[in-house]
Amino acid sequence: MKQKVTNQTRRKMLIGGAAAASTPLWLNVANAQADTIKIGFPTPLTGPFSAEAQDQVKAAELAIKEFNDAGGFNGRKAELLVRDDKLNPGEAATRTLELIEKDKVNYLVGSLSAATQLSINAVCKERKVLFNSISQSDAINEAKDWSVYTFHESLNPTMTAGAVARYSIPRYGKKIVFLTADYAYGHEMVRAFERAGKELGATTLADIRHPLGASDYSAFLPRIKALNPDILVLCNFGRDLVNAAKQCTDFGLKSSMKIVTPVLLYTARLAGGPEAFEGILGGTGYYWGLEDRIPTAKAFNDAFRKMYNGSVPSDYGALGYAGIKSVLASIKIAKSTETMKVVSAMENLKYDWYKGPEYYRKCDHQAVQTVIIVESKSKNMKDKYDVFNILTIEPTTEKNMRSCAELGHKA
């Protein structure tokens, strides 16, 4: 027994070092009571999405701190158990199983990739553990993958790519070329963009697929230029998007077409710099600049700034925050930590943690929320955090989502 405790402590220290060395929260871990509310948090701390993952952890820690500072639930404090899933579905499943069986977590929140979240979800579904996913996926809400224990805090490609299509096609034109990372998420973005584009009369000239993680896209660009579309849609993510944006800029594609991307991430823009992303527009779930118009965004940013030396939360960070908040708030409403009671409390939750009102749609537990269309700035930036202009906010409506019937749900 003693051996076990030592092992756990060591692992926590390792993770603390890797993920959040600066947070004082690890002090809580040391004197955590036996009956803390444990939330497992698998996320790819290493690998190409690690920047986003580390931000998820930071913001999740903030949500835990706020819960504990407010007295917890009947004096029970919450505790975050972060695990590195290395962006590998197999690793994610193993870590999840370990969290459930060995660490006895009450709930799971986390993940950052369509494939890993599906494997985490599969384990949770089988073990009947509540999982609130904070990464984009269309498949997770479809009846075959979904279970009553599955919640999806994140936006999905149908919502983001759809919003970007609805914004850009009427403004820039109907001839579309896609440059797509050849994996499930890339394909989902194309499908969603085309779905929204069809209603607006858009036509696809080509969907050029590149291997995931390609570092040089120049070989695809002369053909894209020759096709001469009105809009080029970059359906890739993370470093792929950074490199693609940079090379499209170098090859002068911006002079003859508008470049858009379904998901324009704060972290990718920081990594790529203003020049590469100049004029590129895309969808996102959150941008800190919302604080001028949304009070909860201001409160969230301020709390985050206070905890992390003035830095601002990213879009995926915000999801980590909201994912934890929803679960913890539902415990208080349900007045119980029992999974099914928390599930039904979450189903009825109306919340506004950081971006305006949200709720989980009954049939598939998808968070119904706004999509923010942002454009990358290259001039008049106030500081290094000032990277986007908010062009518009597509309002919350279930109309833009796939219907419950389409997803295979009965309701």
Binding site: A219, K225, A226, A271
Partner: protein
């Protein structure tokens, strides 16, 4: 494919040559080290990455690209000297696998050091003043920086060729690669030659890193995929043949580019198919001597 024009084909060819330039440079460094020391340097991609980081960092500090272009190979070269002297040298005479495993491990150490120093997100790279944007090359617009890249690569390759073919040092290097015993007997301190060749190889890797940085994002893992591609180039060209490295580098770039035009999703695969075909027809590579690996 519709819309296939002569201009598009030429543009694709030029893109392939620009792409191949970096491959050629990296493979040149790899094959110098292999040809002379019989060391398969698995840390070559990591030196490329370190070069990109150092270069972009100093570019940020000084704002002068040319200064970075000079300083980076010096620093990565010195790092190479230290690596050879203290890590690789004790392993000579133990076959190919010991230095291979050592440099493989070293690459992970270098990646981790860069993660700790510069953070996991990497650095935004900057295109030097005057080389941003694109220019009309007669068949359409092409990025100025990539033209510069082709020219710079050609210069560096010429420089290395001059060093090996026209200087006394080159003569020693060539002689050392052919028969180190005789060179030793003739009174040349072969250990010093190995040291300098390893340093030179790493300097070229670092230089390719800073040269490539404006075209891609600079991050700790950037050396991993390009190392695999460089090995393909080295094998296609023939292990240890500098001419082979240059020719195969450009060839791989052009094959990748042309495949991208017709079958974009097979682009990645195409260079491995090329390698398989070359190995079937000429197992020693295009310019390699038979039995170079032994």
């Amino acid at each position: 494919m519709t819309g296939l024009t002569f201009e598009l084909l030429c543009m694709q060819l030029l893109t392939g040559i620009a792409l191949g330039s970096i491959y050629a440079l990296l493979a040149l460094g790899l094959c110098l080290i292999f040809g002379m020391l019989n060391v398969v340097n698995f840390a070559h991609g990591a030196f490329f990455m370190v070069g990109a980081f150092i270069g972009v960092y100093f570019l940020g500090v000084t704002g002068n690209f040319w200064f970075s272009l000079l300083l980076t190979p010096l620093l990565t070269g010195c790092l190479g000297l230290l690596t050879e002297r203290f890590l690789v040298r004790p392993l000579y005479g133990r076959g190919l696998d010991y230095p291979l495993l050592l440099t493989f491990g070293l690459s992970y150490v270098l990646i981790e050091v860069m993660r700790i120093t510069f953070g996991i997100e990497g650095l935004p790279s900057i295109t030097p003043d005057g080389l941003g944007g694109s220019i009309n090359v007669g068949i359409g617009y092409f990025p100025k920086y990539r033209l510069f890249l082709i020219a710079a690569t050609a210069l560096i390759i010429l420089g290395v060729w001059f060093l090996i073919q026209k200087t006394r040092y080159g003569l020693i290097i060539k002689a050392g690669a052919a028969d180190q015993e005789i060179v030793k007997v003739l009174g040349v301190d072969i250990a010093k030659v190995w040291l300098l060749v390893f340093g030179l190889g790493c300097a070229i890797a670092g230089l390719s890193g800073i040269l490539a940085s404006p075209t891609r994002s600079v991050n700790p893992e950037m050396g991993v995929p390009i190392l695999a591609e460089s090995f393909v180039v080295t094998v296609v060209g023939g292990m240890g043949s500098p001419v082979g490295a240059v020719v195969a580098g450009l060839l791989v770039g052009v094959v990748y580019s042309m495949t991208s035009l017709f079958f974009p999703d097979l682009a990645e695969l195409s260079i491995f198919v090329l390698m398989a075909v070359v190995l079937l027809i000429r197992p020693q590579g295009l310019f390699g001597k038979a039995g170079a690996m032994g």
